[in-house]
C-alpha cells in the first residue's frame, strides 16, 4: 500500500471540530503542503462538517458524520457522509463574497479552497466530495 487513508465516525457535536482540524492538519502537513495550504484545507473541511451540523442536522448533536481522507496520486480527496436533511440548493451556491452579509461564507470558503467539490443525495443520506491537488514546496 502507498499513501494514506483515515476515516472518522463522529457525532454531529461541535466538541469534535477541533479533533477533525487536528487530524486533517497533521495529514496535510505530512504530505508536504505548506502552512498556508494546510490551514486553508483544514478550514474547508471544518466548514463542510460545520455545514452538516448546522443545516443537515439543524444543530442536533446526535447525528452521524463520517469523514474519510484519502491521499490520491496528486493530492487529497475527502468524503463526508451524513444522514441529515438534504442541502438547500441556494446554500450550495455560495453567495457573492465581499458583501457585508454574514450568510454563505462557509460554502464560499470550501469552493475557493478546494479544487473540486460535489454533493450527492444518496438513499442513506448526503455525500460531500472534495479534492485538493498537491502543490509541494520545492
Amino acid at each position: 500500500m502507498t499513501g494514506f487513508r483515515v476515516s472518522f465516525a463522529m457525532a454531529s457535536d461541535v466538541r469534535y471540530l477541533p479533533v477533525v482540524r487536528g487530524a486533517v492538519g497533521a495529514l496535510t502537513a505530512a504530505i508536504g503542503w505548506n502552512e498556508a495550504e494546510c490551514r486553508a484545507v483544514v478550514l474547508a473541511i471544518d466548514e463542510a462538517i460545520t455545514n452538516i451540523i448546522r443545516h443537515a442536522y439543524q444543530g442536533r448533536s446526535d447525528g452521524l458524520i463520517e469523514l474519510e481522507c484519502r491521499e490520491s496520486a496528486d493530492g487529497l480527496e475527502f468524503t463526508v457522509l451524513d444522514n441529515g436533511e438534504p442541502p438547500d440548493p441556494s446554500r450550495i451556491c455560495a453567495r457573492e463574497a465581499g458583501a457585508d452579509k454574514p450568510g454563505g461564507l462557509g460554502t464560499h470558503i470550501i469552493r475557493d479552497v478546494m479544487d473540486s467539490v460535489s454533493y450527492q443525495r444518496t438513499e442513506s443520506g448526503n455525500r460531500f466530495l472534495a479534492a485538493k491537488r498537491l502543490r509541494k514546496e520545492t
Binding site: 471540530l17 486553508a40 471544518d46 464560499h108 470558503i109 479552497v113
Partner: protein
C-alpha cells in the same frame, strides 16, 4: 476559547484567546453584542486567536452592521497570519477597520 473585557479610556477591549468555531462563536457573539451598547468604541483583540471559521467571521459582520446602526466604532486589533488568511478568503477584510495596537484602536478620540 477564553474571553475577557477591559475598559481602556473610552473603549471596551475584548480579548479572545483560542479557537473561534461553531462551538464558540455564539459566546463571542453574545459578549460583543452585550458590550456594544455600553461603549463608543468596541475593540476586539484577535492577537491570541489561533483559528476562526466562517461562523466567527459572520459574527464579526453582524457586530459591525449593528455598530453602524448604533453609530459606534467596531475595531479589530492585530490579525494573526492565520486569521488574516480567513478574512482574505471571505473577501471581508476591506469592510473592517483593522489596527495593530490598542493605542491605534482608541487613539482617535
Amino acid at each position: 476559547m477564553k474571553i475577557s473585557i477591559r475598559d481602556v479610556g473610552p473603549a471596551k477591549i475584548v480579548d479572545v484567546d483560542g479557537d473561534v468555531d461553531l462551538g464558540t462563536s455564539g459566546t463571542l457573539r453574545s459578549t460583543l453584542f452585550a458590550a456594544l451598547p455600553e461603549t463608543s468604541i468596541l475593540a476586539l483583540n484577535l492577537k491570541a486567536i489561533r483559528y476562526i471559521d466562517s461562523s466567527g467571521i459572520a459574527t464579526l459582520i453582524e457586530v459591525l452592521n449593528d455598530s453602524r446602526r448604533l453609530n459606534k466604532q467596531f475595531v479589530l486589533i492585530g490579525l494573526s497570519t492565520a486569521v488574516e488568511e480567513v478574512f482574505r478568503l471571505t473577501h471581508v477584510i476591506r469592510i473592517f477597520r483593522i489596527v495593530q495596537t490598542e493605542q491605534e484602536a482608541v487613539g482617535d478620540l
